[in-house]
Each structure stands twice: as C-alpha cells, then as structure tokens.
C-alpha cells in the first residue's frame, strides 16, 4: 500500500467517526471535553457554530453520530452524544458575548428566505454577520417550521425552541409571518439578489384505499394534525385511534394521541419492526408508554357505516429476504385478514417536498419526481438566483441536514452575490494538528479509558408525563451524570501521528497497544496486509494508516478501527515517533472563511 497522506483533511476526519457521520460535521469530541470541564457555554457555542440548534437537536436529532461512535465497536453502546449536546444547552450561561458582531452598515445585498424552518434560519444566521439584508417569509404565525409544527412539546418544549429561533430572528431578520407564498414569479419580481427556498416537505402522503373518500372526516394527515395541535387548534382526540406508519411522525402521533385523551392508540405498520423508519429510541418510548405497535399489516380497506368510520381491514404479510438482492420483500402469510376497530386514523406514512407555488415556466426545472434540479455542492437550482436547502432540496431528512445544507447554500449565496465562481472559489477544508504532549508523561487530554457503561437519561414521572402534552418526557442528564457520560468519549480527534524517521522499530507500541492496532510488517496490497496484522483488520470501512518504508524494509500499519486513542503507543515510544495530536478539521462556513 502507498503511505497514508495524513495532510489530507479527510483522513483524520474519518477517524473521528461521529464528526464524519454528522452531516454538519460538528466537532463532537471537542464539545464533549468542554462539558467534562463544565464549560457548558463554550460547549454550546461549538455546537451553535456548527449545527445552529444545539438545544433543539440535543432533544430531537436523528443522531447519525451515535451508531458511528467507535465505542460501539470497542465495547457496545455509543457515547450518548445527542444527550450531551443537550447538557451543554441546558446548563449554558450567558451566550451574548459570544454572538457574532453584526455590522451596522449593510452590504447592500438583499436575500429572500422562503419558509422559516431550520434551513432558512441557519442561512439567515450565516448571512447576517456579513451585512446581508435578510427577508424571511412563512405561512405560519411564528418561526421554526417543522420544528414547531411537527415535533410535540413533550419532546421539544416551546421555550427551548423559541430561544434558539429567536436568537436568529433577533440578529436582524425581517420576518414576514402569516405570509402565504403563492407564486415564485411574484417573489422573483420583488427583485432580491438571491432566494433561498427552505419550505420543507410539507405534504403528508395519503392512502387511496376503498372507503377513503367516505371516511374523510375521520382521517387526518399526521403532520397536519401535529401542526394543528402545536398551534392550539386541536386540543383533544377521542375514541379508538389507529396510527398508520412506522416513522418518527407516527411515533409522535401516537404519543400525542395518548396525551390528548384517546381511549386507545395502536400503531399499525405495513413492514417489520426492525425496518421501521422511526429511530430506535422513539420506538422504545412509544412501547414504554404502552402503545402497541402491530407490524406486517398492510391496510386494505376502510370500513364505514353511514359515513362513520368503523375500522380498518389489514392483510397479513411476512418479511422474506430476497436472495438475489438481499432486500426484504413481503409475502402474504395466508392468514385471514385482520379487522381492527377505530374511530380515528392518523396517517403518517411519509411526506414529500412539494412546491405547487413554483411556476414551471420561470427557468427553475424539476426532475421526474417533481424535485427541483440542484447542484449537490452548491445547492443552486437551474435558476441562478434560487438556492434550495433542507427537506425541500432532496426530500425529508432530519434537522441536522438542514443545518448542513444551509451552510453550503449560504456560502454559495455569498459567492454568487460577490460575482465569484460557486465551485472554483469555494473555500477548501483544512486541518490543524496540535501535539497534546505537555510533559514527559503528561497529556493535555484525559487519555485514561473509562470502562463505564452508557448512562441512562432520567425520565419524568410517567403519570405526569402522559397527562400533559407540555411535560417534557426526558429530563436530560444533570451536571454530574453529564460529566460521567462525557468521560466515556474516547477522544478520537486526538490522533496517533507517526513520524517514520524517528522510529527505531523497538516494538514498544505493538506490545503496549491494548487493542492490537499496530503492526510492523512487510508491505503488500491492502487485502493481503489486512489479513496479516496483529489482529486481522476485518472492518474495511475503517482505513489502515500505513507509513513509509522503515530501515528494516517493513512498514508500520495501524488499523484505525478500534483504537482507543489512549495514547499508550506515544507514552511508550522512546523516540516520540508516535505523538498524540489533536486534529481540528476546518469545515468551511461563512464567517470563518469569508472571502
């Protein structure tokens, strides 16, 4: 294998699995260390800079970082990254001194943001410090978009949402709420310098089955229903409720129904439990609230009598793994159909981005799935002035993706307004490596491995929580628990950096490594090398760190897979050929890289 080029920012970035997996590339170990030091405000700001909504995401994020956490591979359960983010938000002090300075003179460019959800808000935050004038339009009476309308208050309390939304609105956004956008042409006529469309995926899918029209009054689309609960139009639901669908919206619908007075709530899913779209912890919460989830039951017919919904007929299927493709498909089991009584149905079977208000003759093209055609790097549409982000760009995703899109779109908008090339002038990623060595046996990070199991987040008393939709279920870690959970982080951003000319090949690092990560061996191709290491490197998703040839003709090969970043290799190296260096990956963002 060729020697690894550690100057390529993506090499060490990949080693920080959580940061690599995060769409916004939030420097997770960085803020976890700050939490361990009880520097909550700074921990919050590290997050705010990167993902814009730490308090909200600390409660609602889909957590792509956690399955990626190295701790899953070295032990079992990942660090509770998401809930630590909340610790920072819950315990932070005054953040006003850390807010970006806002120029008193505007730069003369006007930007229109359509939709007041996370994507638009994040774009506003990136653009305002550079002097842009930002106008925000939304049909709802308040900002936050789906964060306000679709996430129930027992998961995301209103004050947490409002704090982070207002933080941005108060940076000088000209907000136009209750503003129904009906025509993109009209918007373009207002002659802004650029437009950002962040209107989300607001159309919930429906099911056209026999009886659908007749029982219309008893069926609600999940996200619309959650929205009307959020804005206080709906206060109760009665009788037996069936929630159809297996995603997080379905989980929010069933748990909300339970709190609003439903006699019974059942979730019915057409697919198997394991492949449901809902996050594992959302499923667990629903089950914990004793809401049954019935799987492998595709609906067939709505049964009604005199215009009143009586129940639903479901077929019975089982999941079969297709041998050729390995994918699951569903076959009828042959059992008789199942009839389930109900008075109300909440339909939560998916949603779409949908822009009927964008005319199709204004140079903004859509693909065959009715999604806007976008450049994946710049988020620019085929109309040069119009940029997209969030769910309206590539379909429904989590809030963290909206932040990630927004940073890129903001860079594009800025380059566009400056007349620069959106790709050629894009700032590159960067990497800083800083040695953590403080003394002969002293490191400036806590190298010691903590074998503690993942700590469980305390919950509110169930009788209280189920009686009031505004009672937050999860109480979050307190300072002490947060500090202990923070200690479980392996500090994967403190990299093992190897300097060939210093190595005397004494094997000290090989002998001390608790995880058998290091091998000195003759070089070979990757498959061959992977099989010949001290411990075979079977996880091909994790890179091998290969050195230049050493004096004995061998190379140093380190399997990054299960390295604990404990620093023992550096500690036992007599010549400092190994050093522990903290990698800071610079992900370009407007403001830090303003051109």
């Amino acid at each position: 294998m060729k020697a690894t080029d550690i100057r390529d920012p993506s090499y060490f970035h990949k080693v920080v699995d959580c940061q690599w997996a995060c769409p916004a590339h939030t420097p997770v170990p960085d803020y976890i260390r700050l939490i361990a030091e009880e520097r909550y405000t700074e921990a919050y700001m590290v997050n705010w800079e990167s993902n814009v909504f730490p308090g909200i995401l600390g409660r609602t994020c889909d957590r792509p970082c956690e399955p990626a956490c190295r701790r899953v591979r070295t032990e079992e359960k990942p660090v509770a990254i998401c809930r630590l983010k909340r610790v920072a938000a819950d315990h932070k002090g005054d953040i006003t001194p850390y807010m970006p300075a806002l120029p008193t003179r505007k730069n003369g460019k006007r930007i229109a943001l359509l939709g007041a959800g996370p994507a638009s808000l994040a774009v506003a935050r990136d653009l305002l410090p550079l002097g842009y004038e930002v106008d925000l339009f939304d049909r709802d009476p308040a900002g936050g978009g789906m964060m306000r309308s679709q996430i129930p208050a027992f998961r995301l309390p209103a004050d947490v949402l409002e704090e982070e939304v207002d933080l941005i609105l108060n940076m000088g956004v000209n907000a136009h709420f209750n503003y129904e956008i009906t025509s993109m042409k009209d918007m373009l006529d207002m002659n802004y310098d650029a437009y950002f469309v962040g209107t989300g995926a607001p159309r919930g899918r429906d099911l056209d089955l026999p009886g659908r029209q007749e029982v219309d009054a008893h069926i609600s689309i999940g996200i619309d229903w959650l929205g009307s609960v959020a804005f206080g139009h709906t206060h109760s639901i009665s009788g037996k409720v069936i929630v159809m669908g297996g995603g997080n919206t379905a989980m929010d619908c069933c748990r909300t129904s339970k709190r609003l007075g439903a006699e019974s709530v059942t979730v019915v899913v057409r697919s198997a439990f394991e492949v449901m779209k809902a996050s594992d912890w959302e499923k667990e919460e629903a089950l914990d609230e004793r809401i049954p989830i019935v799987n492998n039951r595709p609906p067939k017919e709505f049964v009604h009598e005199n215009g009143k919904l009586k129940g639903v007929v479901f077929g019975c299927v089982k999941a079969v793994q297709d041998e050729a493709s390995g994918r699951l498909r569903y076959e009828p089991t042959g059992e008789p159909d199942v009839y389930m009584e109900c008075d109300h149905i909440l339909m939560a079977i998916g949603q779409e981005n949908h822009c009927p208000w964008i005319e199709r003759d204004i140079g903004l093209e859509f693909d065959k799935w009715d999604c806007p055609i976008l450049d994946e790097t710049t988020f620019q549409s085929t109309h040069p002035k119009v940029f997209f982000g969030g769910d309206s760009a590539f379909g429904p995703e989590n809030i963290i993706w909206a932040s990630a899109h927004a940073h890129q779109a903001a860079i594009s908008i800025h380059l566009f307004c400056q007349g620069k090339d959106l790709k050629g002038d894009r700032p590159p990623e960067g990497l800083n490596l800083i040695s953590q060595k403080m003394g002969v046996h002293e490191w400036s990070y806590d190298a010691e491995h903590d074998p503690a199991q993942r700590f469980i987040v305390p919950h509110a008393d169930k009788s209280k929580a189920l009686g009031n939709i505004k009672v937050e279920v999860e109480l979050g870690f307190d300072r002490a628990l947060g500090a202990r959970e923070a200690q479980r982080c392996l500090n994967c951003d403190v990299q093992t950096v190897f300097v060939e000319p210093l190595c005397i090949e004494c094997d000290a690092c090989v002998d001390i490594c608790p995880m058998d990560c290091i091998t000195f061996a003759s070089n070979g191709n990757e498959d061959d090398l992977r099989a010949r290491l001290t411990a075979p490197a079977e996880n091909a998703e994790q890179d091998l760190y290969v050195s230049e040839e050493l004096p004995t003709g061998r190379v140093m090969v380190k399997d990054e897979d299960v390295c604990l970043h404990c620093g023992l290799c550096a500690e036992r190296c007599p010549t400092n050929a190994w050093d522990m260096q903290k990698s800071a990956i610079h992900i370009p963002q407007l403001g830090t890289y303003a051109a």
């Binding site: 591979r73 070295t74 032990e75 046996h441 490191w443 190298a447 010691e448 491995h449 074998p451 005397i504 090949e505 004494c506 094997d507 000290a508 090989v510 002998d511 001390i512 608790p514 995880m515 058998d516 411990a535 075979p536 079977e538 004096p551 004995t552 299960v562 604990l564 404990c566 620093g567 023992l568 500690e571 036992r572 190296c573 007599p574 010549t575």
Partner: protein
C-alpha cells in the same frame, strides 16, 4: 514510567485459547521500565507464548534477581507465583522452588549483571545441575539501573554512550551454558518475536535446563552507534543458524506448509514431552544442533567475526534433568502427607544402617 493505566478492554476478536483465556489474561502490570526497553518485548513474547500454549497462568513460578531485567516478572503472568530474590541469587531460589514443586513451570528472568557478574557462580551451578526451568537473560551489555556502566557481557571495543571503549573481554553466557551442560541453548533478539516466541514455547516445554540469551537493547544507555547490543547492530549483524517453528500436539501441516521447499537435510523435528514438536530449519546444512562441541565452536568463531549468532543453537531432548539425576519423588512436596515427609524412627534407622 507510564502513568496511563492499560485499559482492560481488548480487541473484540481477540482469540481464546484452549483454557478459554485470551492473551490479555496473561499480562502483568504496566511496565515501569524506560519506554522502548527491549525487556518489555521479551515480556510480551512470554505472554504470547504462554497464552498460545494454553498453559494455566496460575501454574507458574516466576523468579528473578536484581536489575532492570529482574523487574520484568511483574509485567507478565499476573496470576502466577513469584519471588524476587537478592542480587545474583535467583538460581538458588529457582532450584528450591523447582525441587519443592516440580509441577510448576519455572521461569527465571535475569540480566547480564545479575547472571554474568554478581551471580556468575550461581549461574554456573544451576546450569550444571540442570534444574528443570526456563532461564532467560535479558542481555543489554550495560548496567542500566546505575546509568550505563559496561557489564561483563559488553564486547571489547564497544563504546559507552560518551564514546569510551570497553577494555575487557566479554563473558558469553551461551558458551558457558553449552560448556557446562544446558540441554536447550538459544540466543535471540527482543526485536524479533517471530524467532523468539517459538523458542520460548520450545524452552517452556523442554524437560531440563533451557537457557535463552536474549539481546535486549537498553534504549537509555546502550543503543548508540558504538554499541554492539543496539537495535541497529543486532539487526545488521545477527545471523540465525537454526530457526525453530513450534508445532502444537494436534498440528497438521496445511497444504501451503507442505509445499515449503526445504533443502534436503536442513529440517528436522524434535519431540517435546507433551507431544508437540519443534521443527528446526537449518540455514547451514553442516550445522548440527545436537553436537555440543560443534555448536560451541560455531558460536566462538562467529563471535570473532563480530557476528551475533541467533536461533536454537543446541538441544538434547533426551537429556536428564535434576529430578532424574537426584531421583526425586514424583509428587510435589506440598502434596505429600506427614507420613511420607516424616517416615519415622524406623526409616531413619534403616538409612543409618545402610551407611555403616
């Protein structure tokens, strides 16, 4: 001295041996020796050898004297018995331990100071008594603990870190062991576990006195250009004469191994008491690892050429050990009852009568 504790967590695929233990179960405390010390590699090789042989870690007696080398029994086989003796007196303690309980595997770790200077008398006599044990000398040619004076195994002309030459002839413990009757004699290098681990396995299972001289560089005081015991020197001048591969009891040659093209007359297998074997591969057809005089001559000649001969230099699988020589009782002394240990006046009278 390392202050970061070695985490107990290990590689998720770390294999288990026949006893259901993994290699980490054979470790000891984290070393307090200088970072990069060859002795730590020797300890790691012992850990690997014992784990791969599936030897029960609590059935070992570890003995040592004084010096950097003699600290190392703390760094392997945490679950075993140990005795850290006074300087140069490890052989006495090892002799006693082995005579008292012949069922324990006995590992003695000593250094060039402990065995070739203050303890040379003890060393000579434990060799000739053929105590059934593995005797390792971590040989770095210097007194590391007292900041780098030449030891008795330091080669003449080799220099100190500051450049002063050594004026005296070296003592070669391998030659001594060959001459006085060790039945398993090898030399190896701490930086070559591929060679060292099979030698350790063979030596651990060998019945009789097994001696391994391990060149184990001192990174602090004797790993410089004027040294003949540095990593670079041994890598450059080391010459293996007979390499040993350890073949376990249930070893069946794989297809890949049977096609290895050994020149005729250059390989042979030596049986070990538990049914496993050592496969010896000679790099020089004329070398005979069963001819004591020939081995001794080869070692001396190589030494004159400035070469470091490594590998399994001599082995006699049929030699008698101390228990055979002394006709000791099969049962360990601690397992004998009072009746056997104190047979009474009648037995004493019979012995006395036999001496009249």
């Amino acid at each position: 001295m390392t202050f970061v504790a070695k985490p107990r967590v290990h590689h998720p695929q770390l294999p288990l041996n026949d006893l259901g233990l993994n290699r980490r179960d054979y470790e000891g405390a984290v070393s307090t020796l200088c970072a990069g010390c060859g002795h730590d590699s020797v300890s790691a090789a012992i850990v690997q050898a014992c784990a791969e042989l599936s030897l029960p870690p609590h059935r070992f007696a570890k003995v040592s004297g004084i010096g950097c080398s003699s600290k190392t029994p703390s760094y392997f086989l945490n679950a075993s018995h140990g005795f850290n003796a006074v300087h140069g007196r490890m052989p006495s303690v090892a002799t006693g331990a082995n005579l008292a309980n012949r069922e324990l595997h006995c590992i003695g770790v000593s250094g060039d100071g402990d065995s070739a200077s203050i303890g040379i008398g003890q060393f000579a006599h434990i060799v000739r008594r053929r105590i059934n044990m593995l005797y390792i000398v971590d040989n770095n040619g210097t007194y590391g603990l007292t900041k780098g004076q030449f030891s008795a195994t330091n080669d003449k002309g080799s220099t100190s870190k500051k450049g002063a030459p050594n004026l005296y002839e070296p003592i070669d413990l391998v030659s001594m062991a060959l001459q006085i009757g060790a039945s398993f004699v090898a030399r190896s290098f701490s930086g070559d576990k591929q060679q060292l681990v099979p030698l350790l396995k063979g030596a651990l299972l060998h019945r009789g006195f097994a001696f391994i001289d391990v060149i184990s560089p001192c990174v602090a005081f004797n790993n410089h250009n004027g040294s003949t015991k540095s990593y670079d020197y041994v890598r450059g001048r080391g010459a293996s004469v007979v390499t040993a591969d350890f073949l376990p009891k249930d070893f069946i040659a794989t297809a890949a191994e049977t096609v290895v093209d050994y020149a005729p007359g250059t390989t042979e297998t030596v049986a070990l008491p538990d049914g496993s074997r050592l496969r010896l591969s000679k790099l020089d057809e004329s070398y005979d690892p069963h001819d004591r005089a020939h081995a001794l001559a080869h070692v001396l000649e190589a030494q004159q050429r400035g070469e470091v001969v490594t590998g399994l230099l001599y082995v006699d699988p049929d030699a008698s050990d101390c228990h055979e020589i002394l006709d000791t009782v099969e049962t360990p002394l601690n397992a004998l009852g009072e009746a056997e240990l104190c047979p009474g006046q009648g037995a004493l009278d019979r012995i006395n009568a036999g001496l009249r």
